[in-house]
């Protein structure tokens, strides 16, 4: 597989998913999910527990193998690729931000080492430059540079999550999968993280698939929204349109159930 060019034509979908289905025995994990994602777009996937959104995300990110359907990334058939190819993609072009930052970090390695790891994995061999990039990225996610040698276990939850984001984005991936990135964070910390993510999406032209149950997060972060129930997509469209003018009964129920502050 040749190296991907870094500039995708804006009229070609970066990610094309067709009829993705994953079953667990007779139960449906997710069924018949189709969508396109273009460069610079944020797609939110919302649903309650058991809606299939996490299953969908793990199938997209290559953590699980779907039973049916196609996934095309930048024109390449992801499911038909060798595992070598998929792993290489997840080191260079893709990123995955876990809900619990401990799942996405090496707790025994310093913050600088965490951020530098992806750089070293793609061949960076100059200590000074790696460290400088790590300092740069820690700054972008608003972690003080003097914490570069501390272990993540010494960080607060919000800092760990920001470190996870820095670690993932340092190699400029084009597609980021996020699983409830603000879940488990203090509300005050969430806001800063959301703004950080918006800025990064805009500045780096990232495409993001974000799974969450929090409608407020998607309204602020996502351009488009997919609502899932019982493994199926019941509605999709512009985020503000789906939230302000929901068509499907379940979506209407979901939107009207959100507690007002």
């Amino acid at each position: 597989m040749t190296l991907m060019s870094r500039v995708a034509p804006a009229d070609q979908p970066l990610l094309k998913v067709e009829r993705l289905t994953k079953r667990f025995g007779s139960r449906i994990g997710c069924a018949d999910v189709s969508f396109d994602l273009y460069p610079g777009e944020v797609l939110g996937i919302v649903g309650e527990s058991g809606s299939g959104k996490s299953t969908l995300l793990s199938c997209l990110a290559g953590h699980q193998r779907p039973d049916l359907g196609q996934i095309a990334y930048d024109g390449f058939d992801v499911l038909g690729m060798s595992e070598t190819g998929r792993r290489r993609l997840s080191r260079t072009d893709w990123a995955y931000v876990h809900q619990n930052p401990r799942d996405g970090l090496r707790m025994g390695v310093s913050a600088g080492g965490n951020v530098g790891e992806r750089l070293m994995a793609v061949g960076a061999r100059h200590y000074g430059q790696i460290r400088a990039r790590a300092v740069d990225w820690l700054g972008r996610v608003e972690i003080a540079a003097d914490r570069i040698d501390d272990r993540p276990s010494a960080f607060s939850g919000g800092m760990q999550q920001r470190l996870q984001i820095a670690r993932n984005l340092v190699t400029a991936p084009r597609l980021v999968y996020m699983d409830e990135p603000t879940g488990g964070l203090d509300v005050s910390v969430q806001a800063r993280l959301l703004d950080l993510l918006r800025g990064l999406v805009r500045d780096l032209g990232l495409s993001v698939v974000i799974v969450t149950h929090d409608l407020a997060v998607v309204r602020l972060l996502a351009h488009r929204l997919m609502v899932m129930k019982s493994g199926r997509v019941v509605e999709q469209g512009l985020t503000d349109q789906v939230l302000d003018d929901p068509q499907h009964p379940y979506t209407q129920l979901l939107v009207s159930s959100v507690l007002q502050v």
């Binding site: 777009e41 703004d195 512009l238 209407q252 009207s256």
Partner: protein, 227 residues
């Protein structure tokens, strides 16, 4: 610039017994570049609804709704996103922001989304905020703590940061005192002068008469009235 033909809209409330509420039928309207059209009608007649449909915030049930080259009624979401970024601006009645983001960043955001260099975007934002009488000491604070009038002015500043060819304004002068109202009206006049097509809702009759070239009563589009 904005061309609406035979537009209709109804809401289906599935969780209230499937009640169907038609709110608009056979709406037609055009706004040319450099023109400002005011929507009038009683509260609940559908002014905001029509505006939201133009923005793509509400789905269109039937008809054509063309802004520039894009038919919003049938466009793909990403086409509408592109439209909103480059062509169509919207100043709603309520300021909706990510919490804890400084005012200057809020206002600069439409320019940053277009790729404008950060310094230039912030300068333009600063100029607008100054014009709208938001003191500099507030620029680094989040607008969520501001008064209603201040929030409205931040909202307007954000809406005028980029020179949109088409602009939707929902009650831009509400909760503003006279001097700020005049600032807003002059912003609108400037936008008209550079060729923007503006669709606006103004409760303030004097303001409406001052800036609008035409006025359209949306009551004419309400289905019950038509029947």
């Amino acid at each position: 610039m904005i061309c609406i033909e035979n537009l209709s809209k109804s809401f289906t409330l599935h969780n209230q017994g499937g009640a169907v509420i038609p709110v608009m039928a056979r709406a037609a309207l055009t706004v040319d570049p450099g023109e400002c059209v005011g929507l009038t009608g009683q509260s609940g007649a559908g002014k905001s609804t029509l505006m939201r449909m133009v923005y793509g915030n509400y789905l269109v049930a039937g008809g054509r709704l063309v802004v520039g080259d894009t038919d919003v009624a049938t466009a793909e979401p990403r086409q509408i996103i592109a439209l909103r970024r480059h062509t169509l601006g919207y100043v709603s009645q309520f300021l909706r922001v990510v919490p804890r983001v400084p005012t200057l960043e809020v206002v600069a955001e439409p320019l940053l989304a277009l790729g404008t260099p950060a310094a230039e975007a912030r300068d333009r934002a600063a100029a607008l905020l100054t014009r709208l009488n938001i003191p500099e000491r507030l620029w680094s604070l989040s607008p969520t703590t501001f008064s209603g009038g201040e929030q409205q002015r931040v909202n307007i500043a954000r809406g005028f940061a980029h020179a949109y060819p088409a602009l939707l304004l929902d009650e831009p002068t509400a909760s503003l005192d006279v001097s700020n109202r005049d600032v807003v009206l002059s912003l609108i006049q400037e936008a008209k002068a550079r060729g923007a097509a503006i669709l606006g809702i103004f409760h303030d009759e004097a303001a409406r008469n001052q800036v609008c070239d035409r006025q359209v009563d949306v009551t004419g589009f309400t289905p019950r009235a038509a029947a």
